[in-house]
């Protein structure tokens, strides 16, 4: 017996459920329909399987109770047909016997339940209830699925939006970087840039300060990705012509200022390494400040050497740090290679780190290549070493002195000796207004026959004269 409680529960569980009765014998059809209506269900009925299919196409029933044997299409055949539809109803087949073969055929055709005629009304009610549970469960699953699909679609659209933003940011980042080109007075620039992810923490630039001075820098913010690239953008912004005192021609001053302004709002310990310099394109004099960055490599014909230069701590660690600069000369045909640590820190699973020595050897091997091809060759070597899985951003900037310097006097200069350190940032700085004059002065008459130190002293004396 079904108790009062289950009756209420029956009503609750069968609420809104549509039942279709398929029975060719009219009296049977009326009897079953009557029983179901009495249970409070929404019932429709038809006399054949064909009619049932038509009716189902117009209005989807949740539960179909069908007779087994009917003229035309049989119950199992109707079952088979409906169960192939994407949204199939719960099927209860009515059988006149308990034959095992019937059960097998019924299950094979996809029936969910069987009811042997004649049946007690309460059994029908219980079977309908069982069907209702399944239908409700399916509905809930469908709802959840569609909710999940909706939010998945939203997420995907959101991700795609972010991806598009990142792509366009990456394009912007790439377009801000200088490309290989010929600069003033026969100097040349070659660059190579390979971000590990879309967005890099590396950034570099080369700019004309006036008609005889080039400024350049290469900086590398810890890590890569969005946060690192935002940080490097900010630093690059501070180093742009408008907001930075390049005209002072004093890299130490520029870097000290940049470091004082460095912000790390998350206290993540993020820092940046930097190499920043100014080249006099007429004399080849280079002033270079290094902040914890790998030391540049000097290429002179078939010889390659890592320069030995003084370096300060990275940017963003001590805002009161005072940076200094190195002074040295680039001779005609010499080249200065600036690069980020991604170039030699990449690891091979068996052979370990690429290393600075291997980098120098690779440069030596490729010294006959054109600047652009040389960088390409280096990038390719690194790419093979890390097995084409970029581990860190790689940027390179190769600054090449012309075959001979613009003024005749300078073409007689011997190639420079080892770079010397000029740790006194207060010496030898030309006030910006006098730059033009400085160059003119530098180009007047006898450049003495000299060793390298004499050359530097000479420049220092000249600048003092100008002052």
């Amino acid at each position: 017996m079904i108790t009062e409680g289950t009756a209420t529960s029956f009503q609750r569980q069968t609420e809104g459920l549509k039942v279709l009765v398929v029975e060719d014998t009219q009296s049977e059809r009326c009897f079953i329909t009557h029983l179901l209506v009495a249970m409070g269900l929404e019932v429709s009925s038809c006399g054949s399987a064909e009619e049932a299919i038509e009716s189902y196409q117009q209005e989807k029933a949740d539960i179909i109770i069908s007779d087994w044997r009917m003229p035309g299409m049989t119950g199992p055949e109707l079952c088979q047909y409906l169960k192939k539809l994407p949204l199939s109803p719960y099927m209860i087949l009515l059988t006149a016997n308990n034959l095992t073969s019937h059960t097998v055929t019924g299950i094979e055709s996809g029936a969910d339940d069987f009811l042997t005629k004649p049946f007690i009304p309460n059994i029908l009610k219980a079977r309908v209830l069982a069907g209702a549970r399944i239908v409700n469960m399916q509905r809930q699953l469908e709802n959840r699925n569609s909710e999940l699909n909706t939010s998945l679609t939203k997420e995907q659209a959101y991700l795609q939006q972010i991806q598009e933003d990142i792509d366009s940011a990456a394009k912007l980042q790439g377009s801000l970087l200088p490309t290989s080109s010929t600069l003033q007075n026969g100097w040349r620039l070659a660059t190579q840039f390979q971000p590990a992810q879309e967005l890099a923490g590396d950034i570099f630039q080369c700019l004309e300060i006036d008609d005889s001075h080039l400024g350049f820098y290469l900086l590398d913010v810890t890590g890569h990705g969005i946060a690192a690239s935002m940080q490097s953008f900010t630093l690059a912004q501070r180093l742009s012509c408008n907001s930075c005192d390049w005209a002072s021609l004093d890299p130490a001053l520029i870097v000290t200022q940049l470091n004082a302004d460095f912000e790390d709002p998350e206290h993540s310990g993020r820092f940046a390494t930097l190499v920043l310099g100014v080249i006099n394109t007429i004399s080849g004099k280079v002033k270079l400040t290094i902040a914890g960055h790998p030391l540049p490599i000097l290429l002179k014909g078939s010889e390659t050497e890592a320069m030995e230069l003084a370096s300060g701590i990275p940017l963003g660690i001590d805002s009161h740090y005072h940076y200094e600069y190195n002074t040295f000369f680039l001779s005609p045909q010499q080249q200065l290679l600036l690069y980020s640590d991604g170039l030699y820190e990449c690891r091979h699973p068996t052979f370990g780190e690429f290393g600075q020595q291997r980098l120098i050897n690779t440069c030596t091997n490729a010294h006959q290549l054109e600047p652009k091809s040389l960088l390409h060759y280096l990038a390719h070597s690194i790419d093979l070493w890390q097995q084409k899985k970029p581990q860190d951003d790689i940027s390179m900037m190769l600054i090449s002195a012309p075959d001979s310097f613009a003024t005749k006097k300078y073409s007689q200069r011997p190639t420079s000796g080892p770079a010397t350190k000029d740790n006194s940032s207060n010496k030898g700085i030309l006030p910006s207004k006098n730059n033009r004059n400085a160059n003119e002065t530098e180009s007047i008459d006898d450049w003495p026959a000299f060793n390298h130190e004499a050359l530097i002293d000479n420049v220092l004396i000249e600048s003092e004269l100008i002052l």
């Binding site: 590398d220 810890t222 890590g223 890569h224 206290h267 993540s268 310990g269 993020r270 820092f271 390494t273 902040a291 914890g292 960055h293 790998p294 370096s311 300060g312 701590i313 990275p314 963003g316 660690i317 001590d318 640590d341 820190e345 690891r347 780190e353 860190d392």
Partner: protein
């Protein structure tokens, strides 16, 4: 990573793992930050197990240094391997970190009041 308390209440020895690279950075930084926020402002960071560190790994050391300095504390780096030391020297961070080779000496130093 292992945290070992020292004789002094606000001192702690932190043994860092084999790899300190970008993928581990957030976890390591959070753990060390939590330790400092919990009151340990005097730290010995034991690097002897560290075989590989990249610049984002170094940024953990820098953030720990800045945090402890803010809390009037101190940080000592202990026994970096040759490779790790080379990177620390390349980035000139040895100018701002005290580096010890001897564990007993490092602990004695950090526990001095």
């Amino acid at each position: 990573m292992k945290f070992s308390p020292l004789a002094l209440d606000n001192a702690c020895l932190i043994t860092l793992p084999k790899e300190m690279v970008m993928s581990q950075t957030p976890t390591l930084r959070a753990a060390i930050t939590r330790q400092i926020e919990a009151g340990s402002n005097k730290l010995v960071l034991d690097l002897h197990q560290v075989e590989y560190i990249d610049s984002s790994g170094l940024s953990i050391l820098v953030s720990a240094l800045k945090l402890t300095q803010k809390k009037a504390g101190e940080i000592i780096l202990l026994s970096p391997s040759a490779g790790v030391r080379a990177l620390i020297e390349l980035t000139r961070l040895h100018q701002i970190f005290t580096i010890y080779e001897d564990e007993a000496a490092a602990i004695e130093h950090i526990c001095e009041q």
